[in-house]
């Protein structure tokens, strides 16, 4: 494997997180990178969410796809992964890929070129995206890792999923701070949503019940400059 200098400096030992024996970087921009596999995972892009709303009369700005792709392009340029896994809900709805503007399609295809690209099926986009390369899969096992859109109720060591759009909240000195986060307990990891218009759900919400070993739960909250690892006991609901 050949790391360029800039890539190597991105990864400090201290930033590495262990998931079922694999080492991963929780990037503060919301992607997960496995240096040993040269694999980049990103979840819940929700491309074309803007136009999906517009169809129903809410004319929110049509720039979300562009914004999301631009950020994705930046992380891909930094890590130069061999494999990219888009963990489902890549498009906000089944017609999303079709509606996508030509220029965005071109941008996406340029990113995909020269690497293995997997579209994991999500609940918003169960079918393969129209006219785009890449392989659509229900789930994907690589090494000790299992990539799927929705976390399974059964405990699966090494499961990497999305779907729930985790965020975490802390209260310090009477002030509340809420941020998107990676949520992991050493065994499984739920990724934050990456899309520009994606909302989030607190990791202490009922929807997460039974998914984590609470005593080892850590929320890796996304900061402006870095990730903040906050232990589950410090987190607040809501």
């Amino acid at each position: 494997m050949n790391f360029s200098l800039s890539r190597a400096t991105l990864i400090a030992e201290a930033d590495l997180v262990g998931i079922a024996g694999e080492r991963a970087v929780c990037d503060r921009r919301g992607v997960l990178y496995f240096p040993d596999l040269r694999l980049l995972a990103v979840s819940d892009l929700h491309l074309e969410k803007g136009s999906s709303f517009a169809r129903r009369g809410a004319l929110i700005p049509p720039y979300d796809t562009g914004a999301t792709l631009l950020r994705l392009q930046a992380v891909i340029a930094d890590y130069q992964p061999r494999i990219v896994v888009s963990l489902g809900d890549s498009f906000h709805d089944g017609g999303g890929a079709e509606r996508m503007h030509e220029s965005f399609r071109g941008q996406l295809e340029a990113m995909m070129a020269g690497r293995d690209w997997f579209w994991v099926a999500g609940n918003h986009d169960p079918e393969a995206p129209a006219d785009l390369p890449g392989e659509t899969v229900r789930e994907l096992a690589i090494g000790s890792l299992l990539f799927r859109h929705e976390p399974s109720k059964l405990r699966v060591e090494g499961e990497i999923s999305g779907h729930l759009h985790p965020c975490a909240r802390i209260v310090q000195r009477g002030r509340s701070v809420r941020r998107r986060c990676f949520a992991g307990d050493g065994g499984r990891m739920i990724m934050p949503a990456f899309g520009a218009y994606t909302g989030s759900l607190n990791v202490l919400d009922r929807a997460y019940a039974g998914l984590f070993r609470l005593e080892t739960l850590v929320a890796y909250m996304l900061g402006a400059e870095r990730i903040f690892a906050i232990s589950g006991s410090m987190l607040r609901p809501g």
């Binding site: 201290a14 262990g18 004319l59 929110i60 520009a196 218009y197 909302g199 906050i230």
Partner: protein
């Protein structure tokens, strides 16, 4: 006792009687005679002007009989209207009455119904508010009453419905109550646009505005009439006088605190006053002050006097109970916030106590008008300053009230978000032509200076979102026909519009519901709802925390969906003080008065001795600022260096100044750590010695306070300030970019379809000149940031900055220094808090935790 709008004959000038005979139809004269009353001169004057076809603004103090005056033209005209013959078409609405409060409309229905019945007028009066059942609304459309009492939102809905033109074609008068309070908000903008539409339906429509005293009556006069002829104004009638209120400032035997807002020290003295009077109305500035004062009063309420609490977050049923008890004179005291500000008559209040400084002279006058609702008897009021600066402020306000000074805010241009809402509403009612609607909109005073390109952009926004990337043509909400008319593209658009009409944005709030102590909800649903409380406050609570609400000390049990569960807390001390700072910023006028007072030791004689002493100490240890100067003190304390500035320009302007100065100090290498702003002062603390830096002109204070900070620094800070995001959310909701409610689904708070913060970020980076961002910046600059006031201040103090470098804290600096730590510092330090939390974890668990 006669109702408040009438006076005994003996108190009236004879001229009025003569006029009355000319202007009033026979049954009215007879009725006045039977009652032994006589109409007032201004009531007849208004009638005469209205009868000659004029629109009129009536400015009068509370208790002057404004309401009857406003309706006399309608009632007399309706009295002499020929009876409808059988088979003749139904007549439409004759008079539309619009008030800012639902409760006021209901109140008027009652007050107006009585004389109508007694005179035997063939006049039907009905209300139409959000509470009106839909069958009644339907019926009102088919068989309209003669007089319809309603709110601005209902008018917008009526305009957006099919057949609006027919519904209003017989309209003669629009009576606008409490106009002074309506015009200053976005509700006023929407209402002005609605009036313009009504005038397009009925060109000779007359308006009658009823208002409390304002600083610039001409602004309201223009507001009332079409601006097709630029600058046109309504007629004006001003009723002056009324008895001079007896206002005093509590000269407490206790020590007046340096800082804080609770006025807890004065509780026993307030209680003594309550005992001495029949009914006392206690005004405070914020809901949390209301809760605190209520608790404190009950703590000393040995005689268990009936003392009640009234504020906007309490459950409606609870509020109605209090209002009813008050009307029946069953209460001895009511602790209230601004929900009781407006002109509702609540029985015989003989004392108003104002706790905390009133923040504006006009506000004080209006609140005091609540007492003794008869114009010719003096109102009695006591001001209770909560801290020492408030003593100065109360004194200034008191002088102002005696002088009749007015400091109502100037009117601002109409919001573009409101215009967007109105444009869609118009399309829902009937197809419109761009040029015609543009001309119509410009007849509304707030939009008189609107230019055509901006209007075209608003239309474009309503149609397809107005984006440079023209992706949404196929999803257009309104479309232009071949003939050039804009019409709604499908019925769902109109349905959506109706659900989202209005400009009142509710802060995300949760129901507060009782459960059994220790339970987290599920099992014990169904306890009583006490009211609503903001999500933002609840977010700072942990299970088991106690706080005050609805006059109780409550224990926080948890949050479930949109409900906050609470139980009765044992003890009597709320652990979490529930305080959000002052609600209104200090008015410019009062600020100037306070500065003048500091500069004039002669005026200190009127101040309580302990406060005058404090100022003398200041003169001794440091210096007192001159009236037009800005005093800056610097001093070290602990391991920090402090700078305290005393602009007296209000909290908002100071907050903005604080944000901008810290940016500049940071660039200058002062390493600022934080700042805190009050209505009077601004304190910044840093790691480097700012006193030394200023003395050596590195940088000089003149450079630091240069007006150019309102250029790039302001723009840069605007970029991702949470304040801007909050403003954007309001604009997005009002303009209809996103929905408050969607058919079939109740959306609220965080569940709003897509977070507006995310939309803001995306839009700002891709289309920074989008019309909605333009609207947001304008709003923020006038409202939240008070940029114009800051600009005036910076220009006033050029060359007039006085720097005092001290060894230690000065007496004048004590109040603001005490606020440090009590007030959240600002919204930008989130990362620091995260860092703290992450560090705590590492300390407790060791670094392997993150491995």
């Amino acid at each position: 006792m006669p109702p408040r709008y009438l006076l005994r004959v003996t108190e009236q000038p004879r001229l009025a009687e003569q006029n009355a005979a000319v202007l009033l139809p026979e049954p009215f004269v007879k009725w006045f005679g039977q009652k032994g009353w006589s109409p007032r001169a201004h009531q007849l004057e208004l009638l005469a002007k209205a009868q000659s076809g004029q629109s009129v603004l009536l400015i009068a103090p509370t208790g002057a009989g404004k309401t009857l005056a406003g309706f006399l033209p309608s009632l007399t005209e309706l009295a002499s209207r020929p009876k409808r013959k059988p088979g003749q078409a139904r007549r439409g609405i004759h008079t539309l009455y619009i008030s800012p409060l639902k409760a006021l409309a209901v109140d008027i229905e009652r007050n107006l119904g009585k004389p109508v019945e007694e005179i035997g007028l063939p006049v039907t009066i009905e209300t139409r508010t959000g509470d009106t059942p839909s069958h009644k609304r339907q019926r009102q459309k088919l068989a309209p009453p003669d007089i319809l009492l309603t709110t601005p939102e209902q008018l917008a809905l009526l305009i957006a419905s099919n057949g609006a033109k027919r519904f209003f074609e017989d309209l003669r008068y629009v009576v606008l109550d409490e106009l002074h309070s309506l015009v200053t908000s976005k509700r006023g903008h929407l209402l002005a646009l609605g009036l313009a539409r009504l005038r397009a339906f009925v060109p000779d429509l007359q308006t009658i505005g009823l208002s409390a005293t304002v600083a610039e009556p001409d602004e309201l006069r223009r507001w009332l009439v079409s601006q097709a002829a630029p600058g046109a104004m309504s007629e004006l009638i001003v009723v002056t006088g009324g008895a001079k209120p007896e206002i005093s400032i509590l000269d407490s035997e206790e020590r007046v605190p340096w800082a804080g807002h609770s006025a807890r020290y004065a509780t026993p003295e307030i209680y003594r006053e309550i005992k001495r009077h029949k009914t006392t109305l206690l005004f405070v500035n914020t809901r949390s002050q209301a809760e605190l004062l209520f608790q404190e009063l009950w703590r000393v309420n040995e005689d268990t006097l009936p003392i009640a609490l009234h504020h906007g977050s309490l459950d409606v049923a609870q509020r109605r109970r209090v209002e009813k008890a008050m009307g029946e004179n069953a209460l001895r005291a009511i602790v209230a916030t601004s929900t009781l500000d407006l002109g509702i008559d609540w029985g015989d209040v003989d004392l108003v106590v104002h706790v905390g400084a009133p923040k504006g002279a006009s506000r004080l006058a209006q609140r005091i008008g609540r007492a003794n609702h008869r114009m010719d008897e003096p109102s009695k009021a006591i001001l209770i300053p909560a801290n020492r600066f408030e003593v100065l402020e109360c004194r200034a306000a008191l002088d102002a009230n005696y002088l009749g000074a007015q400091d109502t805010p100037p009117l601002v241009n109409g919001g573009l978000d409101v215009l967007a809402q109105h444009v869609l509403g118009c399309a829902c009612g009937a197809p419109f032509h761009t040029g015609a609607l543009f001309d119509e909109v410009r007849t509304a005073a707030p939009y008189a200076s609107l230019d055509r390109p901006t209007f075209d952009r608003v239309i474009d926004f309503v149609a397809t979102g107005g984006y440079a990337l023209r992706n949404y043509e196929r999803y257009a909400r309104i479309r232009q026909t071949k003939e050039g008319f804009w019409r709604v593209s499908n019925p769902a658009v109109a349905q959506q519009y109706r659900l989202n009409v209005g400009t009142i944005i509710e802060v995300p709030a949760l129901n507060v519901r009782y459960v059994q102590a220790g339970s987290r909800g599920a099992a014990s649903r169904g306890g009583r709802v006490l009211g609503k409380i903001e999500e933002a406050f609840l977010e700072t609570l942990t299970h088991g925390d106690t706080f005050m609400f609805a006059g109780k000390i409550l224990r926080f049990e948890g949050i479930r969906e949109n409900e906050c569960f609470v139980s009765n807390a044992p003890g009597s001390d709320a652990k979490v003080p529930y305080y959000g700072g002052g609600k209104f910023p200090l008015s410019t006028y009062l600020a100037e008065q306070v500065r003048a007072m500091l500069d004039d030791p002669q005026r200190w004689k009127k101040l309580p001795e302990q406060v005058a002493d404090w100022l003398r100490f200041q003169a001794d240890k440091s210096v007192l600022p001159k009236r037009d100067d800005l005093l800056i003190e610097t001093f070290p304390r602990g391991n920090r260096y402090y700078m305290v500035a005393y602009p007296f320009e209000g909290r908002l302007a100071h907050q903005t100044l604080g944000m901008l100065l810290t940016r500049r100090l940071d660039r200058a290498g002062a390493k600022p750590v934080g700042f805190v702003a009050t209505d009077y002062a601004l304190a910044i603390w840093s790691l480097a010695d700012m006193g030394w830096m200023f003395k050596n002109r590195e940088p000089s204070l003149a450079t630091l306070f240069d007006q150019d900070m309102l250029g790039d620094d302001l723009e840069a800070w605007f970029a991702d300030s949470w304040l801007l995001k909050r403003t954007f959310r309001n604009c997005a909701l009002i303009s209809g970019l996103i929905e408050k409610r969607h058919p079939g689904k109740e959306k609220s708070g965080r569940q709003v379809t897509v977070s507006t913060d995310l939309i803001y970020d995306v839009l700002r980076s891709h289309e920074p000149d989008h019309i909605l961002l333009q609207a947001t910046r304008t709003d923020a600059a006038t409202g939240l940031l008070d940029v114009s006031r800051l600009a005036e201040m910076l220009s006033r103090i050029r060359g007039r900055i006085m720097h005092k470098n001290l060894e230690q804290i000065s007496p004048l600096a004590v109040p603001i220094m005490l606020e440090i730590g009590k007030m959240p510092v600002n919204g930008e330090a989130d990362e620091t808090l995260l860092m703290d939390a992450a560090t705590l974890v590492e300390e407790a668990m060791g670094p392997e935790m993150t491995d």
